[in-house]
Amino acid sequence: MLLIQCPYCDEALPELEFAYAGEAHIARPADPSALSDEEWRDFLFIRTNTRGPHFERWRHIHGCGQFFNAVRDTVSDRFLMTYKAGEPRPVLNALEAAE
């Protein structure tokens, strides 16, 4: 079974305890009514759909209940790292060098 490191529990736990929650680092616009229809559509629906390392949100819903961010390779399904919500986006080159 795929194990995911929860940064809040500080433990690698089975995937079944977690729920995927979409792409990470997408900030909601401060003033939605000022956006054009296209900009609003892009915020709501347009995602990077990366092939390779993907920054995404996960929630440890059947555990500590917290949201956190993860970098997962969408080709190999391998988790490169997980980090707490609110922390800056990690630099990919350093992660890949550490592999």
């Binding site: 809040y8 529990c9 500590c64 209940g65």
Partner: protein
């Protein structure tokens, strides 16, 4: 052809439904944790899965800002009134969830084996005296490890028939040596 003789365990584990206790879900920001500990007279562990006991009250840390408190039913009103009087100084949320859950106790030589039938987590890696919120089949449960082969499991009441049905099946399989 040889005749095989088997000595299967007639009581692989014991499944009991424990009498009701008062259960509370407590949420408080980490900045206010210390102050609330003093006000409630309880120790709130700051690591997920750790437990503390003060008198007859038990506390389990479920998340970075979430705790489960078990007290005897007689102490319920005292805890609620103490928390209410501290509320203005220390904002927090104390919700009684006694009726939401039923506690099952699993003990006996194969209690751990029985739990592995439903829990994806490595149960053996939970140290004695800790706990965790996890899954049993598709029901979220709070698991307390009281001894190497002694567990308590808080199950939401609507999931209890499902959880018991699985454990009964596991019991039958273990008795028959499967």
């Amino acid at each position: 052809m040889t005749t095989q003789r088997h000595n299967f365990d007639t009581q692989p584990f014991l499944l009991e439904e424990l009498p009701p206790v008062a259960r509370f879900s407590l949420r408080v920001r980490s900045a206010n944790r210390g102050a609330l500990e003093g006000a409630l007279g309880l120790e709130l562990p700051d690591l997920v899965g750790h437990r503390s006991t003060r008198g007859q009250a038990e506390v389990l840390c479920l998340g970075p800002d979430e705790w489960m408190i078990l007290t005897p039913e007689a102490d319920r009103d005292a805890l609620v009134s103490v928390a209410a009087s501290a509320y203005m100084q220390i904002p927090h949320s104390l919700v009684e969830v006694s009726d939401r859950e039923i506690t099952l106790r699993l003990s006996g030589p194969q209690a751990l084996t029985a739990l592995t039938a439903g829990c994806p987590r490595d149960i053996d890696a939970i140290p004695v005296g800790r706990g965790a919120r996890t899954l049993f089949d598709n029901a979220t449960v709070v698991l307390w490890r009281d001894g190497p082969q002694d567990f308590r499991m808080n199950v939401w009441r609507s999931f209890v028939p499902h959880v018991r049905a699985i454990l009964d099946k596991v019991m039958a399989e273990l008795k028959s040596g499967l």
